[in-house]
Amino acid sequence: MESLDEQNDSVSIEVKDSNHPDIWSVEGIARALRTHLGLTKPKAPILTGKSGLRVTIDRRLGAVRPFIATSIVRNVKPSEDALKSWISLQEKMDLTYGRKRKRASIGFYQADLIKSPLRYTVGNPEDTGFVPLGSTEKMSLREIVEKHPKGIEYGGTISSFKDWPLLENGDGKILSLPPIINSNDLGKIASDTKNILVEVTGTNIETVGNTLKIVVAALAERGGKIYSCTQTYTDKYSKPITTPDLKSSIKELSVNYANRLLGSTFKPAEMIRSLVRAGHPARQVSKDILRVESLCYRIDIMHQVDLVEDLAIALDINRLDPEWPRIWTLGGLAPETDRHETLAEIMIGLGYQELLTYSLTSPEVFVDKMGIKREKYAELMNPKMSTHTALRTWLLPSILNLLKDNTHVDYPQRVFEIGPCVVVKENGEGQTETRYKIAAATVHTAAGFTEIRSCLDTLLASIGVKFEVVPTVQPSFLEGRTGEVMSGQERLGVVGELHPKIIRAWSLSLPVAAFELEIPPMEAG
């Protein structure tokens, strides 16, 4: 519970369970609270009878949105609050469980205006049209998708198809364009609607069926009686399907398993009491086994471990005694981290300030602004900001990016970073490799090659790496004052004075000398 506002007689509750749509409505929360507090026993929703409504499904919906499930709920106690709650449940389910209406979406209609059989069929986006909900003008299906706010939001679910889904009343009038919008004439429920047709369409038959169960169970909480409908698929699902399916699912729970997982010693009777409070009718069938019923709307129960969690919540986890695991293990840093620590220690001893910069940056920064040519790098498909579009291949640009913001800060500035870079290998295997590198820069009026080379030598000599520096050309650096750092045949990195045009590109005005190295492998012993 988040807060209790006694003045306005309202409680705000945080629902974290994104797998638990049965409590995404006032009705569902009230139901869960009643059983949790022991006011009522959990009871499966009852199917009162057949509504007599039939739905025929056009086989051309196959690739577009093949599934539909319907039910009529009669005699609900209508009110403004009830209507608000159902619309909010509809929106939440469409968004999350229905995956933004792609997998499933819900429609409400006044059952009294409905004539059997409904036809779930397809329509041509240009030739077919109706007055969409909240509008006064007739629009073609395409106009709805292109202009109506709901069409703009959800049109992507159907717009790539030639023909679009349509739900037609028994008299041929259009009820809705699933999953976009209902008709203004026939697809509207109000705060005085007592008899409601609930329709769910979608691309996954299980999601469609589950969504229907949860919605009708919520409506039934307001006194509604649930009536079934039949769906006739003209394709491979030739047998008519009756919905909603309100059968509970049964799982066996081992008392021993539950106690082991909780670290507890609950007796079967205590467990049954807690399971009932969690909304699961249960009884003992043998010494160790409980037969637990999960009501039709409890789609979150996939495994007996889910029942154990419900058990723990009903018992209140704060009543369990925390116990540090009594196992003996040897702790330690990763060898890589140990290596980085040694390098950091030496750099700090040399007077360099450690830095932390973003590894996600942009090729404008780590390639173009360094005066080098673009080669392979790991580029994002869906960047959010133009400044963060790719993973850097080296550190020095990140360091310069920091230095450019500090031209007013006291010099000398001596800084270093040990951080991850990503190189692209395109070898058909992992394709990329994360490599830690070390880079350092010194900036002041007299910064130069000798100073940075001394640091480099000290660093590598301290960790026992044998190396030589050979002249090289690298456009970020001044020719004649740049060397490649070689350890045997292996190229470790580069050391030199930054080229004045690169210094200017970064809006700096003092000499910069720098090195960047792959982290050298550790010597044995």
């Binding site: 974290k16 997998r103 997982l261 909780l262 670290g263 996939m302 495994h303 007996q304 471990v305 889910d306 154990v308 969690e309 723990a312 986890i317 704060n318 369990l320 925390p322 540090w324 695991p325 196992i327 293990t329 040897l330 702790g331 330690g332 840093l333 990763a334 890589e336 981290t337 750099m347 700090i348 040399l350 007077g351 300030q353 450690e354 830095l355 932390l356 910069t357 973003y358 590894s359 996600l360 790991a378 994002l380 498909m381 869906n382 960047p383 993973l391 990016n401 920091l402 230095l403 450019k404 913001d405 500090n406 007013h408 800060v409 295997e429 992992g430 394709q431 990329t432 809006s507 005005s509």
Partner: protein
């Protein structure tokens, strides 16, 4: 009076009675600490007076440097329009001037305010009319004057000061307060200057004096040891990395072994192995960074696990679960993503051939999510994550682990637990910690991995998984309000953070 005192008085007299410390250092040829000591002594004797003046130094921002090189946006657009014959649509002109389209309103605004041209509204958009190339204006003059250095705003003539204020508001210039101390000689000070400098004092001890024993015969001048000295900027750990090192030490002390792994993962490791269905909202492009180049990796080396994970997603495999009931796509699994949570590293630990049971593993993982940067969001951030594996583990052990972290890592006084939800753990528990002065805070999430996670990876014992909000804990410790501070480019802040 000592030698340096006299030198300072002489320098002041020669400079017309008043000079800044920098001037004295240069002219008297003594170091700044000596000037500071001398000025302290002399002002105590009433021979000099200190005057403090505050100036506002202005300098170009990064944007300002750009305009310095390429011209102000309105200038660039005006030139384009003029060169195009004096008439051009605004958006066309902005584009030709090499500026993004969101500059349209800025540029038209300034051109109108500076009366450089007219804006004609037509049905097809706004047209700019600029008949003659406008002469250089005050804004541009200020920008040129400043160039790549910083100057006191007070030195600008008043008409240019207004222009500087405009540029400050436009973020083209930035400013910094500067306090300048000057020394002024008093009449008593002028009288006190001796005709000849006294030389009976020695200021520096030399190696020769030490070796020869001469130090016994000379008089070594006393220093004012209380006076201020220049500050140094030593090499230090970055404040946030220092904090992470401390967290790592705690975890190692608790018997956890560190795990490391790549920033780029397959969706298989990042999500599938954690039983996150392939159409889970957290896998949408709004919540997960996908790579464009390269976009996929081979899953060949995980072949056997892929098979089991696929079946678990589809129908529960042998785990006793119903599964998610959808068609698993190996194509989707092979997509490359940026690691979005530290739990990916726990997966890496579990599938490693070096895994030990009983075992405790942790990782401080750099993670990525498509967020815009603001006070509470980073697109690149850190998570502390870990697992504990042993046949004996249960939910009470999970609570025990959380309680230990709250006390040892966060220094919390009390803890409480709330049920939580993650697709990969069941039961799941949120840790709330109470700290005097802060109240109750959400501090981490945890749970026991679902059998649908562990069994396909070949693990048959309970696995406790935990994650700590490490970025937030650091912010609390350092009293930081804005999460962007973790990756700040402010070197002064990095240098000056207290080391606790």
């Amino acid at each position: 009076m000592r030698e340096n005192d006299v030198k300072v008085l002489r320098t002041l007299r020669d400079a017309g009675g008043i000079a800044s410390a920098e001037d004295i250092i240069r002219k008297a040829g003594i170091v700044d600490a000596a000037v500071a000591r001398a000025s302290l002594t002399l002002s105590e004797l009433g021979l000099v007076k200190e005057q403090t003046t505050r100036t506002t130094e202005i300098f170009c921002t990064e944007e300002g440097h750009d305009y310095l090189a390429n011209g102000l946006p309105e200038r660039r657009v005006a030139t384009v329009v003029h060169d195009a014959g004096g008439k051009l649509s605004v958006s066309e002109a902005v584009q030709q001037a090499g500026l993004p389209q969101d500059f349209v309103s800025i540029v038209t605004g300034w051109i109108a305010r500076k009366r450089w041209g007219k804006i004609e509204k037509t049905s097809s958009g706004n047209i700019l009319l600029i008949s003659k190339n406008p002469p250089k204006d005050e804004d541009e003059e200020v920008l040129e004057r400043i160039g790549h250095v910083s100057i006191p705003i007070e030195e600008l003539p008043s008409n240019l000061r207004q222009a500087a204020d405009r540029l400050l508001k436009r973020n083209i210039l930035a400013s910094k307060e500067r306090v300048q101390r000057k020394l002024q000689i008093t009449p008593q000070g002028l009288d006190a200057i001796p005709a000849q400098a006294s030389v009976d004092e020695i200021s520096s001890l030399t190696s020769e004096m030490i070796l020869s024993g001469d130090w016994k015969r000379v008089h070594l001048r006393s220093y004012n040891v209380s006076s201020p000295v220049p500050s140094l900027s030593p090499g230090k750990y970055h404040p946030y990395l220092r904090f992470l090192r401390r967290v790592k030490r705690k975890l190692v002390a608790l018997g956890f072994r560190e795990a490391v792994g790549p920033l780029v993962e397959t969706a298989f490791i990042n999500d599938d192995c954690l039983y996150m269905p392939q159409d889970h909202p957290a896998r949408e492009i709004h919540d997960l960074y996908y790579l464009k180049h390269p976009s996929k990796a081979s899953l060949e080396s995980w072949k056997e696990i892929v098979e089991k994970v696929a079946q678990t997603h589809e129908n529960g495999w042998k785990t006793g679960s119903t599964g998610w009931g959808y068609k698993y796509s190996r194509e989707e699994a092979s997509k490359l993503v940026l690691r979005s949570h530290g739990t990916a590293l726990s997966v890496r630990s579990m599938i490693s051939k070096d895994l030990q049971i009983p075992g405790k593993y942790f990782a401080i993982a750099r993670c990525f999510r498509p967020e815009l940067l603001d006070r509470t969001h980073l697109t690149e951030f850190n998570q502390a994550e870990g697992i504990v594996l042993d046949p004996s583990l249960n939910l009470r052990n999970l609570l025990g682990v959380l309680e230990m972290f709250a006390r040892e890592v966060a220094g919390a006084d009390r803890v409480r637990f709330k049920p939580d939800y993650f697709p990969f753990t069941e039961p799941s528990v949120e840790l709330q910690a109470y700290k005097e002065g802060y109240g109750w805070m959400e501090f981490g999430g945890s749970g026991i991995f679902r059998p649908e996670v562990t069994e396909p990876l070949g693990i048959k014992v309970p696995v406790i998984a935990w994650g700590l909000g490490i970025d937030r804990l650091f912010m609390m410790n350092q009293q930081i309000q804005d999460i962007r501070q973790l990756f700040t480019t402010d070197l002064e802040w990095i240098r000056q953070q207290k080391v606790g």
